[in-house]
Symmetry: C2
Subunit: 393 residues, 2 copies
């Protein structure tokens, strides 16, 4: 099977969100990692990694996507025919190998490698990626071995994504402006008799009208007993007096997300809600105050756990997670780095986290008050300005 | 490591979308397949399969989910703590093994199997699923072997999902009503000067206000040269006279989707657009007329390809794909069954397909006119009633 590397020509159909220098920086950093690992080529399957390296962007990656990086030239992305336009006409790399709907994409990846870097060679490939299946990875391994390659399982792009550049922080701030407006729209509509779907409609309209892109997860809009469900969303329920209502909203710009979670109360909050609110607010203060380059993540998590314990609650989930490029089924980078038990890595300037202190009381309600924060030279700075409180609707 | 199977008790926080009999039918069918394959247990990782078997539903499956089915009792789903409420409080199966954010989910799956079915035993597990990574599958294989199990790679749920029951067809029809309203809202807003985001806001509001759930892919809303991109969506572009505008919209009920694609023209369509429209419309007529139980899928695809060739166009993508339960990154079941070259399986009553005849002319425009159709006893019946034409805005 022989393949052709197709290059996009002529003007792009839309401007790129980042400078040439930003993409060049990322590619050079990856090549540094490849050299350190003794790799002649690297294959990325994760849509976040592919977008980060090439600018290729689509929510539809049910057909295999694979970006191949060697030590020469722009990345080459193996793509289904109908989706290749997103690389040829609107990416930075603009190089693709195209397969038909009924072709075997793994064989196309192997043929593309033969075209770009003849064997013998050491090929790194992501084996912790979702969108290459175990069966396909096994087929890739067998095919590469038969062709005289050495396959090395590797995740080289994720560590690069953790620390954001000035350009990346700028789009996260822009995403935060969109989240703020959508959260304000949601809060404005909140009242007895409003439905979860009314809020979801207002949130989607505000996100999209203000320039928000498709998020990796939908907005989470739940109320009453449904607010005690983790990661459930709108289902038509109407708000009643005494309800907690939970809104978690993802503004997205250039694929970067700035999420925010607020809990409201229909009528005055109960004493129990106020007690959890107090724990959340003091945890946010403690955690943000403690965040600075060099601090270990498990130490920050311990502060949060201890604070909830002082308030009489047992914290049951991580303190926060890294955010950046986002594609379904996540808007976070928690798989890259989370503020949680056992995480001994340290904060660095330019990291961005969504901090999510809160409590779920099964069948009763959930309450979280969050912030997305940027780690600065000597502290941490919230991206958004929405009052930190249980709002009353 | 010992684990506990937790059972949900008390009333559900929301009614299930299907009858007890529907879920029991699915589980019995899977057990029949397990018996035929000589399996003592089966592990599903795909969110569509998990939802189909258990009713568990969340868009957030970045943490490993695994449903374990043995020959006794309801399925047991291994879940991250924060998400377990979706099984305990709002599923059919209501049995979970829960792991913490910092736990190893693969070890939890192995421990759960030891609890449910002691070794030696033959365990089937999906190796063509996205959301178990190649590395995790390898860890599972090693762990099961060490524990005295035999692992068999198997995909037993997908074939069951292809033929829809009366209850499933009813929710697909309900989803179609929602898609119709959202498409009408989009067409109503279409005019010179309207932006892609204006349409996207109207579509989301219409989908959600009419009861639509989160879809596996966002609505695709593109215009002008961007309409030639496959699976791109809104980016703020404003419509100009002469533009093609493409709207592909997913109404979703009970996780079942009924998608519809329409192309419009800002001002009168060009002769070239009219020529492609004629090819699309005659292909839809030919294909729908040919569809009935027993017909091979590649034969239907050939009719479509030949019709486009007669009209002077080369069809570059499949004729259609199965639709049903949907989760990101797809709203279709094309991985289960597509109407395309080389597909020798036959149509059966109760299958549902999204037929997508059309042409993409890179950098210029794309044009597709689609229908979602149900295969009946002796033919095929469209789910929706939106005029089959290039609409003018």
């Amino acid at each position: 099977m022989s393949v052709e590397v197709v290059e996009g020509t002529g003007p792009l159909v839309a401007a790129l969100p980042f400078t040439e220098g930003e993409y060049a920086r990322r590619l050079a950093a990856l090549r540094g990692e490849m050299t350190a690992a003794g790799l002649d080529a690297f294959v990325a399957f994760g849509p976040e990694n592919i977008n980060y390296l090439t600018g290729h962007d689509t929510p539809a990656y049910q057909y295999l996507q694979a970006s191949i990086v060697t030590h020469d030239g722009a990345p080459v992305t193996v793509l289904r025919s109908i989706d290749a336009s997103n690389t040829l006409l609107r990416s930075w790399s603009r190089r693709a190998v195209i397969y038909a709907d009924h072709d075997d994409p793994v064989q196309t990846v192997i043929s593309s490698l033969r075209e770009l870097i003849p064997p013998p060679a050491r090929i790194g490939a992501e084996d912790r990626a979702f969108f290459v299946t175990p069966r396909r990875y096994a087929e890739l391994a067998a095919g590469l071995a038969a062709a005289g390659y050495t396959l090395v399982a590797a995740q080289l792009v994720e560590p690069l994504r953790l620390v954001k550049s000035a350009e990346e922080i700028a789009v996260i701030r822009a995403a935060g402006r969109i989240t703020e407006r959508a959260m304000q729209a949601a809060m404005h509509c909140t009242a007895e008799g409003t439905s979860e779907n009314d809020i979801a409609a207002a949130v989607w309209a505000a996100l999209v009208s203000n320039g928000g892109e498709f998020p990796g997860l939908p907005p989470f809009i739940v109320s009453g007993p449904r607010s005690s469900l983790g990661h459930a969303t709108w289902s038509g329920r109407r708000f009643e007096v005494g309800d907690a209502v939970n809104f978690e909203i993802p503004g997205v710009v250039a694929r970067y997300v700035a999420p925010l979670f607020r809990t409201g109360s229909i009528g005055d909050p109960s004493p129990e809600m106020l007690a959890i609110e107090a724990a959340c607010l003091s945890s946010l203060d403690l955690v943000i105050d403690a965040m600075r380059p060099g601090v270990r993540l498990d130490e920050i998590h311990r502060l949060n756990v201890a604070n909830f314990a002082r308030h009489g609650f047992e914290l049951a989930h991580r303190t926060g997670y890294s955010v950046g490029v986002n594609y379904a089924p996540d808007w976070g980078e928690g798989d890259l780095l989370s503020i949680q038990a056992g995480e001994t890595r340290e904060l660095a300037e330019g990291m961005v986290f969504h901090l999510v202190p809160g409590i779920y009381l099964p069948r009763r309600f959930g309450l979280i008050i969050s912030e997305t924060v940027i780690v600065t030279k000597d502290g941490a700075e919230p991206v958004m300005e929405v009052p930190r409180e249980v709002f009353v609707g």
